[in-house]
């Protein structure tokens, strides 16, 4: 299965991935309307260690702790992709408690959210990858 991987050698730390992610998942057709002058809730985030930057998003683990731990039964694996049912999620953040990658977080309305590979939004494939100017994030089989 194709997943998102980061190549930290090439990451500039420009955070375009965060903006593209938030826009792709906003459901809006204009980036300005989606992002301007408001807090954004991207599902990928840039971390920095000793001058090196890299993007972190859901690893779509084979044996995911978030799925096993969700108190609402709102997280499931569908064809290898780990998805959160926002309608069922009560925002307890047990997934945040257990995710060893720090890849799940509360979204705008309090429900948990994470990368779902943009498969169900208008982008159709990871927007972070499509918009990365330096190919520092890739979507591939490993």
């Amino acid at each position: 299965m194709k997943r998102v991987y980061v190549n930290e050698k090439w990451c500039l730390g420009c955070r375009l991935c965060e903006y593209n992610c938030a826009f792709a998942n906003s459901g809006l057709d204009s980036m300005v309307k989606a992002l301007k002058d408001k807090p954004i809730f991207p599902r990928v985030h840039i971390e920095e260690a000793e001058g090196i930057t890299y993007a972190v998003s859901c690893r779509h683990c084979k044996d995911p702790l978030c799925v096993k731990s969700c108190i609402a039964g709102a997280i499931s694996i569908q064809d290898g992709v780990i998805k959160i049912d926002k309608e069922k999620c009560v925002g307890c953040l047990t997934c945040v408690l257990v995710c060893p990658y720090g890849a799940v977080a509360a979204g705008e309305n309090g429900a948990a959210q994470k990368c779902e590979l943009c498969l169900a939004n208008s982008c159709g494939e990871p927007a972070c990858v499509a918009g990365c100017p330096n190919n520092a994030i890739v979507y591939e089989e490993r």
Binding site: E47, L65, A72, C95, L97, V104
Partner: protein, 411 residues
């Protein structure tokens, strides 16, 4: 072909079903469900009262779950296990044979024998969907509610009903709220927040006896109420296992494969006493993630596969009126403690023997799972960047090669 029987129909049972089916798609599975509902998420009962979920959304699995997994559900109760003949008798005298049995009997509210409790008309426990529906019927905007117990159950109940009643008072013999998961400093932060939202507390004090609508407290005080909620604690349901010959203590004793001390009988979830790897002791770890993981592990092993739960630790994520807290591990008194107050909240890290023994975060909880992983995996802190660790949880705490491994391949 084997006959699998699961006693109980909660989250541990769901995990057991999924564990069995990961290794054996054909053999028969029978679930004995004491409650008259398909598997639902018990921790959501307070969210239901608060209007943040619905009865339908509380279903833990889709409607076709049992059918898809070829599971027969019998809505009855198990009365007796004959571990020699490997049979189980239900309350309706129906007898089932098992090759492998899993006890997912959960726990029940513990109600101390208070003097005068019989005279209290509107009294409730708060554990099941039926408890929640019964309590809901009694609520009205003028109700004065007294909750005995300031633990997870009592306080989630308080939050759930706060907007639907007149007053909520919570008492507890402990001198702080959430005493099972928080230290004094953090409990004080959460208590202040709860008080801001109208919850009153009587701590270090508890009800000793009741009149019809009045509690007599240990301190001599009297508290009038219309509705009484008893959330003193829970006890593992061990009687069936005990009678079947399984070793029991506060829970059913299990090994790392979820096997009890009787062959072909496994146990999982809140009824068990298994290894808490944070303290190194066998303890009842009555938390939902643990129930699922134990159930899954039991199921795999029942079906002839191999799985073990070796790194269960106490851990909780719980929020009240918009303020989240995440905790994991243990808080040894002789730890080195690191405290900070990011974004008006509180964070306390307990470091002992070069390991992160436990932590408490209130407010800023992003990426807390990275701390949890350090606790669960007992990562030596010499292998991580401790200055960053203190600052905030991120993968930057790991050395570059470890971090690249985490982000660079299938995990």
């Amino acid at each position: 072909m084997s006959e699998y029987v699961i006693v109980g129909n909660g989250v541990a049972a769901a995990g057991c079903i999924e564990g069995i089916r990961s290794a054996d798609t054909e053999s028969s599975i029978t679930v004995i469900s004491g409650e008259d509902h398909p598997v639902y998420s018990r921790p959501l009962i307070s969210y239901y009262l608060e209007g943040r979920t619905t009865i339908e959304k509380m279903n833990y699995r889709p409607a076709d779950f049992y059918e898809k997994n070829k599971v027969k559900v019998i809505y009855s109760r198990a009365e007796h296990i004959d571990s020699k003949k490997q049979t189980i008798t239900l309350t309706d005298k129906q007898k089932l044979k098992y090759d492998k049995l899993c006890l997912c009997t959960g726990s029940s509210p513990f109600v101390p024998p208070f003097e005068g409790l019989d005279a209290v008309e509107k009294k409730f426990t708060f554990m099941t969907m039926d408890d929640s529906l019964a309590l809901e019927k009694a609520l009205n905007p003028e109700s004065r509610v007294l909750i005995v117990g300031a633990g997870l159950i009592g306080l989630k109940c308080a939050e759930g009903i706060a907007e639907r009643v007149g007053t909520v008072t919570v008492c507890d013999l402990a001198d702080r709220v959430l005493s099972s998961i928080m230290d004094n400093e953090c409990a004080a932060v959460m208590q202040a927040h709860l008080e801001k939202h109208g919850i009153s507390f009587m701590l270090g004090d508890t009800a000793v006896s009741f009149d019809k609508d009045k509690a007599h407290m240990k301190s001599g005080a009297e508290v009038g109420f219309d509705i009484l909620v008893l959330a003193v604690g829970v006890r593992a349901e061990i009687s069936l296992a005990k009678e079947a010959g399984c070793d029991t203590d506060r829970g059913i004793i299990i090994d790392e494969t979820m096997l009890t001390t009787v062959s072909n009988i496994y146990a999982a979830g809140d009824c068990t006493q298994g290894l808490d790897s944070a303290s190194g002791e066998k303890r009842v770890l009555a938390i939902l993630p643990n129930a699922y993981m134990q159930g899954h592990c039991a199921g795999v092993n029942m079906a002839g596969g191999k799985e073990a739960v070796t790194n269960a630790v106490p851990m909780n994520s719980i929020g009240f009126f918009g303020l989240h807290s995440i905790t994991a591990g243990i808080y040894p008194a002789d730890s080195e403690i690191y405290e900070d107050h990011p974004a008006g909240g509180i964070k306390r890290l307990y470091i002992k023997n070069g390991r992160l023994a436990g932590y408490i975060l209130i407010g800023e909880v992003d990426r807390a799972g990275i701390y949890t992983a350090l606790v669960r995996e007992k990562t030596p802190l010499e292998e991580v960047d401790t200055a960053r660790l203190r600052l905030s949880p991120s993968l930057a705490v790991y050395k570059a090669d470890i971090r690249r491994k985490k982000l660079g391949g299938v995990v």
